[in-house]
Symmetry: C2
Amino acid sequence: MLEKYLKRRESKKSVLFAGLDSDFEKIDGDVLDFNKKIIDETSDIVCGYKLNIAFYEKMGHKGIEILEKTIEYIKQDESIPIILDAKRSDIGNTAAAYAYYYFNVLKVDSLTVNPLMGFDTMLPYLEYQNAHLFALALTTNKGAYDFEIPEKLYLKITKMMNEKNKEYKNKIGIVVGATNSEFIDEIVENSEDMLFLIPGIGAQQGNVEKLFRNLKGYKNIVINVSRGIIFNENPREKAKEYNELISKYYNF
Amino acid sequence: MLEKYLKRRESKKSVLFAGLDSDFEKIDGDVLDFNKKIIDETSDIVCGYKLNIAFYEKMGHKGIEILEKTIEYIKQDESIPIILDAKRSDIGNTAAAYAYYYFNVLKVDSLTVNPLMGFDTMLPYLEYQNAHLFALALTTNKGAYDFEIPEKLYLKITKMMNEKNKEYKNKIGIVVGATNSEFIDEIVENSEDMLFLIPGIGAQQGNVEKLFRNLKGYKNIVINVSRGIIFNENPREKAKEYNELISKYYNF
């Protein structure tokens, strides 16, 4: 993931990922066609794509087939990194089943995981040479104040993942939500090169200027915008706008 | 879920759920046929079934179709409660997509969720009248010592879910792993009637006697055994054995 990301960031001057959260209830027509159109319109300007599996599972097995075909479609250009946003968490033999599908069948570049159950639940994924994981550290929702923030769990997770990223040679990153960005400077202080996946800009209205102030020049970031791009009348123009907005603060 | 569980517990004198963790790599032949055979052989003696979605996702969209058909097959007898073990966690609009599939399409009786991101991530499921959630509190793996146990997060989760179960009228329970059972008495002390889903007996070798000692007569429990039943040569006999073993300690 990291290598692909760095190359693509350099060539496209973009850290923007378009989130294909393709909710069939918001789409008039075929979801696969919808995705292909978004990809056709944006693949030369975004850094990569993130797919949240929930919106495909919502359509049952036919939705999972659309997910598979969408990933295949993106993969026609092998330089484009793909993140599968699934926030998985399970013990060894079950995590191994998930890992098989994501890294041996779908062959995505990265997967989001929920680290509550501990680091051993991440090991079965890391056995795949091409695997990369983003562990949830700080999320964008109010519920972050239930467990993540009061216990400073986001910091404990950050520190552990930063160590593990060194041990597992750039195969680990963290999810850092933009809406609770007052905690980001502490996360940055405890992170070396590991990749941050940053949701919360766009429909979730995280403030871009405040985000970059707290990031203090941290370079290895992915900024994901889903609904803000794909459900806009002109996804290409919207993606360009986000690229330009980010370029004001990010020194490419 | 709770009502179905109580009726079935009474009629079958069983709190045993058979876990259909049907890993295709361990199965000679068609996975749906394998499941149907297990269900045919055990449905009159178990309390219910738990399906871990990872083993179906491992087979891609065809696996999800097998999951759908398996659930349909169990549902021929509407008295049997079905738990979907998915350990999901995501923010509002995404959780709503998951909820739609589980409680509006599959119509399972309960779903496991990972509560790290906070209680608001559980709300979209609870909007469905027939919904029930098991939140992970204490898991069976070594990684439970990373975050769940040192921060006493399992207890904080237990207390919150116990309160929410009262507020949401028996729609919430917790997952309490049998292998780390020295922490269970503290969980029991802070739980009223909410249902416990207890994995870790069977292949994971949790000690049944020690488990019941720590449960101190707590009644609303589901004991799940997956590999220990379904991959045995005689699943029916094995399920009966587990029922008998549990009956030594559980006062039906």
